[in-house]
Symmetry: C2
Subunit: 344 residues, 2 copies
């Protein structure tokens, strides 16, 4: 088992808890023979779930790390960091820092996850700030990756440049793309458009050959499939992500209302349901998990209201990031750029 | 005709031109007996349209101001401002400045419209920057108004405060609301969340009773109907607006694909079409026109690819803003706040 990959799971985080994380863990173990999991959380609750799933004696590649402390969704990052040193979230991250686990996954409080990860793992050399990256759907059925989605709220041009490099390394590694197309999110595509931060990042990306930079992109082109990675400040990215989530919910609401209006439309609504469900499924950005990039360790963020399938997918992404040694790849790329004097 | 309201229309702006503006002008004149219109643009083209609409001799409440110069969608704001002093857009705005028209409407280049309006009309006393405001749909079927949608890309806390006052005055005037609920768009609703600019604006709004400020709102709550006015920096607002436009197009694309997949679903698709069209119509933020707030004059922005109905609606908004004397109302509110020392 020398080539096995160990992933620590925060079983108590988010709105989901053990009822989602434990079934997801079992599914992931079935899918990947090289996977070992450490379930961090309330032992009795975890064992109860395992029993219900037909594993009264547990699983050979699964161990439990008991703790009762939980970071709640209402905890401030500072409170979680200072007062919850025995929380399931903190222990899962500590296991990565101690090299006991190669990666960790949590569906918990994003702010707390960011703060604890940053404090425990630190950022990679050459990276000033970590960023949250996640995927959005496109016309062609592919995905476009957007970062930062809210790890920061006051990025500089240099930060955006680093985000571009990290996003590019992630996509080229995961999707075997030699030169993922990277764009900066802006209010227009002309040179004169944008704030000083975006203009400065544009300048840094143009003078560097670190990424395949194709220029600015506007909000309405996010889903066009014309780029692979879109870079923006975390404030903009967070509002964009959440606005899109809100709009998808509005679409679902309007659909329900439209088909409810009279008897005939109700019948059509029932017939159309499978197709409409497919549309909503394709749109649902919340299906896609986030990753924290730029840390000396792998931290995956599953959505706070994630279902089993999406938590399994987060575990698989964690496994794959560990297999590909993603942090080392980012570190090497940054070291290379720093050596060649391509970064100030 | 002492109580008539004159509105100047830029007939050559946007992708639409005379083919949309002239029919819209005729419709608006039919709907409002007190409306007078000045059509600014290529005389022969305008007259050709009037002929086609059954008005070979024009209309008693419509006059034409001939010009052949056009601000194109590719013109930079600086180029439009300096080199296009005889453009239909510039003349329409000049007519407002000269008090010949009480308001103007253009579907042209937003950047140029902003720059020329700002230069010709200037901002109101107490207002440092103007802002673009437009409406988004909500769950209840009502509207929520978001500003700034891109007039600025680097707002300060004071600017956001002024936007809040302007948005509040607009909605209370137009919708007869005594205390429209105003919120700041942020990455979280807790006090500690956000960048310095948003936190500063939150402080200013909390200590003032100028608007009915209810606190922060996140992106996924934009469409909830829980607020009437949402304030943000123009960079964030522009990306949000355009992302939503892009997502609506993606919804339409996915719907078409879902119902195209096989014979049976095609039939259901045909039956479901009226309901789905209703959904898309309700979602379509591009139906809603924008207004430039904070200027010593009324400038309405119709969408660049607007249809006749939406241009009519822009003319009606312009007429109503003039009737209500919106700039004066904003000026009075600001003067009142400045007097009472509620603004620095």
């Amino acid at each position: 088992m020398s080539s096995s990959i160990t992933v620590a799971l925060d079983c108590m985080g988010g709105d989901v808890g053990v009822a989602v994380v434990v079934p997801a863990a079992i599914q992931a173990l079935r899918k990947h023979d090289d996977l070992e999991l450490i379930l961090v959380g309330h032992k009795a609750q975890i064992e109860k779930q395992l029993c219900a799933l037909g594993y009264p004696n547990g699983h050979v590649r699964l161990s439990i790390r008991h703790t009762e402390q939980v970071v709640t969704m209402d905890d401030s990052p500072v409170h979680a960091l200072r007062k919850k040193k025995n929380s399931s979230m903190r222990i899962a991250i500590d296991l990565v820092q101690q090299n006991v686990a190669a990666a960790c996954v949590s569906a918990g409080n994003t702010g707390a996850l960011m703060a604890i990860s940053h404090f425990v793992l630190k950022t990679l050399p050459g990276i000033s700030r970590c960023a949250i990256i996640a995927a959005f759907p496109t016309y062609q059925g592919g995905l476009v990756h957007l970062l930062d989605l809210g790890a920061n709220v006051d990025s500089t041009s240099e930060h955006l440049y680093q985000f571009a490099v990290m996003g590019s390394v992630l996509i080229s590694t995961f999707d075997n793309m030699t030169e993922p197309r990277v764009a900066l999110l802006n209010v227009g595509i002309e040179n004169i458009k944008g704030n000083e931060c975006v203009k400065g990042a544009d300048y840094l990306l143009r003078k560097s050959d670190a990424v395949n930079y194709i220029g600015y992109i506007e909000g309405d082109q996010i889903f066009s499939g014309s780029v692979d990675v879109i870079v923006c400040d975390g404030f903009v990215g967070n509002v964009t992500l959440k606005s899109c989530e809100g709009l998808v919910k509005l679409v679902v609401h309007y659909m329900k209302e439209a088909f409810k209006s009279h008897f005939f439309s109700k019948i059509i609504g029932i017939l159309a349901k499978p197709m409409l469900r497919k549309v909503v499924y394709r749109l649902d950005t919340t299906e896609h998990n986030g990753a924290l990039l730029g840390l000396r360790g792998i931290v995956l963020k599953s959505h706070g209201s994630a279902d089993v399938a999406s938590f399994v997918s987060a575990i698989e992404n964690a496994r794959r990031s560990a297999e590909k040694r993603l942090p080392e790849l980012i570190e090497h790329r940054m070291a290379h750029l720093l050596e060649e004097g391509r970064l100030s």
